[in-house]
Symmetry: C2
Subunit: 333 residues, 2 copies
Amino acid sequence: VIATFDGSSVNLGREGKVLYDQSGFGRPGAGGLTLSPEEALYLLHRNKIEIEGYTFDSFLAECAASPGFFRCYLVYRDIRERGYVIQPGPHDFRVYRRGQRPATGQSHYVLRVLPERELIRFEAIVGDVRSALHMRKHYVLAVVDDEDELTYYEVKLPRLEKAADCAGAGIIDAKVFGTTVIAEHDAAAALEQAWFGTRLDAERLMLSPTETVFLAGRGMLRCGGGPASLDTYIEASMASDADLRAKLAAYTHLRDLGYIPRTGYKFGHHFRVYSGKSTHSEMLVHALDADAGMPMSVISRSVRLAHSVRKKMLFACTHENTVCYIEFARIKL
Amino acid sequence: VIATFDGSSVNLGREGKVLYDQSGFGRPGAGGLTLSPEEALYLLHRNKIEIEGYTFDSFLAECAASPGFFRCYLVYRDIRERGYVIQPGPHDFRVYRRGQRPATGQSHYVLRVLPERELIRFEAIVGDVRSALHMRKHYVLAVVDDEDELTYYEVKLPRLEKAADCAGAGIIDAKVFGTTVIAEHDAAAALEQAWFGTRLDAERLMLSPTETVFLAGRGMLRCGGGPASLDTYIEASMASDADLRAKLAAYTHLRDLGYIPRTGYKFGHHFRVYSGKSTHSEMLVHALDADAGMPMSVISRSVRLAHSVRKKMLFACTHENTVCYIEFARIKL
């Protein structure tokens, strides 16, 4: 089939229609079939079409002048070679279920193509995923790294189910020792029962800053008669940890759903989270302000780490008092 | 044994000497044995001493007023309970080999205590590790996380051995297509042979920005007759990747030693590095300027990830044209 290129799209005559009908290439119109540059380059590569006046290299040179074209082409080709029908738009592609094409059904994924250094703005991506979900589509990021290898991530907005009733520990007496809060004897045992704190010794239990501020905010902590005041401790904790406000929002939300968040330091994230159904923590949660951003390569590190310890990787984005969870899961299409 | 506390150190009479001789507690002097607050609190906790006028809680309250005391106490106690003799100084502790103490030998580790959010300045830590090595001691970081759990890391300055002769590929012809550099036919095969590039198809091979700039800098790349110029490509690559200069320094250094650095995107770091002795990449390398800093919690994420895929975690710090590797390895003392 011979095609013509007008500088922005490639046009096949009516004989191109079979490519649409059988394999979902292009958009059919009055004048025949129109192909995007990615579609045309792919069909050229597969020797399915010829473009008047162009070789593969000269057509590639023409297209490659527009930024991001080559990345999109690599993704387009990869998805095609995996046996899916893929169409351009809205950003950057729509992918059909295996065996489906525009004539037979709706697309299943919306797919955004990005380079490894792209800054992911959490607020923006939540909006994009929501739009996709409204159209009952899955939202997938296709990341093209510097060596042109592809990695796919499905981005989800999981709604955490209530795991249990929030464990209460009554009102607890504790003492502030400088930068440490310690509960003793029965108070220590009650806290431990509700999965708070770390044992210092048989009589004493230490609370983390997050736990302390959470319990204090709930009116569950009474620190009288200690050497330092609770207010001073909370002020100092807030001042020394810029993330504490976001961590508290996520911690409180998780606790209210009956989950048990514990420090995730050994995994390099804010929390490992237990649902109480198993001794294994099922999630890593990192708390952020909703307007935060992170390069895709840093998110990749988190996702790889979480998967290697069989946990889900969730970012908890807090905006005023609401918490929204964003899950990045590597997928093989 | 009854001790007295003068507000900064704890003094035992001559009868305290046995604690030094047998177990390496304190510093003996003319007036008897002097204990640091950590040593005294530990001995109080173990009921080995009493301090006139103080209970455990009131002595702890006194000490906890000085910042960092509680973290140091937790580390001191942990090391003691693992059966090592530990002495204060120079920063923050010296630890003896198992079975050794001040009277019988030299300390083996210098140990620095830090909270999980501490910013690690690479230039400074290289200096600290070098000082320790000059004294023939190992340098260990003891990190106390928000829930008072301890993690130990040995910090090393590995000298990479020459792995092989640097593979050459002759002078290669390639073409610049916008943001992509492509070599064809024999040139593609020669590059692939020397472990450069990613295949686009049977005839074509794509080079990454790092590979391209490296090869161009060595005069090994000739890009004539392509649709875009190599200089424009290099300028655009430098502008779009703030890390490229540091990455190039590490890449060049590794290549010159005969290692094969490939993208580490899937592991969230700049390079996975092959020594050529195995099909498994043995190291993750992240390139940084020497004056860079990173919170310990972020380093923890990298170390955990690297260990989970059985690789060493190396930071390559470049200062002018020298590259220094810093390895963080989690250890169990």
